[in-house]
């Protein structure tokens, strides 16, 4: 029996947006339940068994997180999620070392919470270098090598991109950072539990982790902060001095237990799950290619997590396609789906033409995706792409051999 059936109602669409969030694994919920009920103590209470019990849950979970990334449990602190972890890592390090180093290196395809944090630090007087990416979405290590100087305090490069799923060469980046004495922070929200990560082998100094991307609860995340050599951070939330003083506030025990359990399950099942998802992804791509021409995968297919596809369906606008495939929940890089009316900046950074960015869908597969769901999704996509192409003037022109770029379009 599919564990997801316990959560998903039959009248709900097929969920194919696992990079946005994941359903909680029922095993995670089970582990959390006692901490919502009879084990309700404050993990910081030292004088009675309620507190000790809660503390035990929180510390076991901390060890589970640490183990998944090859860290020591003392190096893991809890936060509210990857956004907070990214803010704390970058602002914390920048602020603490600002008298010595004032330069930050990141990439143009980072998540908004990293880019916006960097913009904020620019206003505070820091210099930020935004590295471009290559056509496949990966950074050029030579460009990175040149960008890092003895003034660079931190290099923040995401492990796996949230839109296109590509995996950056973490070990090589770590080596470059270590050689230049800059800290290496990686936003690993999309990577943890999906690909093997080792903070020692990869020379990672700071790593952001999210609970809800790994079948754990929302509202919890973690930040790995290296102890040897020690990385120091200026705290953003002040108070009782919990979490080594980096992040005050009473820990949400059930959520901590949840993210820990999620890490443990991911660690056990990662290899088998990666193989299963790769098969499903190949099946989907093969199915689409068999029935549709002019579809393009955005981002490197080889250096990519198994559960992600980002595809441009030429001459079909993304939002209209999503309106058609009502039985599927996916997301689009089209402008029409964003409040800003700008197409995906990640796809633009790869050099994907604006018109192709408008036609892209992000399809995320995960732990509860079945072969049958993939087949249904392929059939639905093929049907609606074909239908929409029949009503697309661009498809008509392309079939007639007219080069769409040769037409002088009036911008509006």
């Amino acid at each position: 029996m599919n564990a997801f059936n316990q959560i998903r109602r039959n009248d709900q669409p097929i969920y194919l947006d696992y990079q946005a969030t994941t359903p909680m694994d029922p095993r995670v919920l089970e582990a959390m339940m006692p901490y919502f009920t009879y084990k309700f103590g404050n993990a910081h209470s030292r004088s009675h068994s309620y507190g000790w019990e809660a503390e035990e849950g929180v510390e076991k979970a901390r060890a589970q997180i640490a183990k998944l990334i090859g860290a020591d449990e003392k190096e893991v602190i809890y936060t509210s999620g990857a956004t907070e972890s990214n803010n704390l890592a970058i602002k914390g390090v920048a602020d603490f070392y600002k008298d010595r180093r004032n330069h930050i290196v990141t990439t143009v395809t980072e998540h908004k919470c990293v880019l916006d944090t960097c913009r904020h630090l620019e206003q505070e007087g820091f210099t930020v270098t935004y590295l471009p990416v290559q056509k496949n979405g990966l950074i050029d290590l030579d460009v990175l090598r040149e960008a890092v100087t003895d003034k660079t305090v931190v290099v923040s490069i995401m492990a796996v991109n949230n839109e296109i799923g590509v995996i950056q060469p973490l070990a090589e980046i770590g080596k470059i950072c270590r050689a230049k004495g800059a800290f290496f922070h990686t936003d690993a929200a999309q990577a943890v539990g999906k690909i093997p990560l080792d903070v020692e082998a990869m020379n990672i100094d700071l790593m952001s982790i999210s609970g809800h991307k790994i079948y754990g609860p929302k509202g919890i995340g973690a930040l790995y902060v290296r102890r040897k050599p020690r990385v120091r951070l200026a705290a953003m939330i002040h108070g009782g001095g919990q979490e080594r003083g980096f992040r005050s506030g009473t820990l949400p025990t059930p959520l901590c237990v949840g993210i820990g359990e999620a890490c443990e399950i991911a660690m056990k099942e990662m290899d088998a799950e990666a193989k299963r998802l790769t098969k499903l992804r190949d099946r989907m791509l093969k199915g689409l290619n068999a029935k549709l021409t002019e579809i393009y995968v955005n981002g490197d297919l080889e250096h990519r997590i198994p559960g992600n596809l980002n595809i441009s369906f030429a001459h079909v606008e993304g939002e209209s396609l999503m309106m058609g495939i009502k039985g599927l929940s996916v997301s689009s890089g089209s402008a029409c789906t964003s409040a800003s009316l700008e197409p995906s900046y990640v796809l633009r950074a790869l050099g994907v033409e604006v018109e192709m960015a408008h036609t892209s869908l992000r399809i995320g597969l995960g732990r509860f995706t079945t072969e049958q769901e993939v087949d249904t999704a392929v059939a639905e996509l093929v049907h609606h792409v074909t239908k929409l192409r029949e009503m697309s003037p661009l498809w008509e022109m392309s079939q007639e051999g007219i080069d769409i770029k040769s037409i002088e379009w009036a911008a509006h």
């Binding site: 001459h315 079909v316 606008e317 939002e319 209209s320 309106m323 058609g324 089209s334 402008a335 029409c336 409040a339 009316l341 197409p343 033409e353 604006v354 018109e355 408008h358 029949e390 009503m391 697309s392 003037p393 661009l394 498809w395 008509e396 769409i404 037409i407 379009w409 009036a410 911008a411 509006h412």
Partner: protein, 137 residues
Amino acid sequence: MAYSEKLIDHYENPRNIGSLDKNSEDVGTGLVGAPACGDVMKLQIKVGPDGLIEDAKFKTFGCGSAIASSSLVTEWVKGKTIDEAETIKNTDIAKHLALPPVKIHCSVLAEDAIKAAIADYRAKLSVKKDESKEAAE
């Protein structure tokens, strides 16, 4: 985004999809928008000898609102004179489909498409008149 029933109906059952012969004298073609902006509309009208629009066809690349707006205007222009068709306002389209504010530009594009098709038809007509005048002289 929550769309109105009318909009969804036009998206799911678009009226008058297709193409007319763009080289025909009694057909006016409007092609507006830009692929880079995410919407392109092609709207064509066929004008009968009585001066009434007897057929209209469209093809649209764009979001659901753009498809619905162009489908709707093909329905509206049929049976009208070109002068009447020219008075269709984007605000009428937006109101009829209950377009959300962020989608108003789709109705503007549909209005532009009608105007462009009419302008194309008129241009063909004046060439024809010139030719027949020359022939008479």
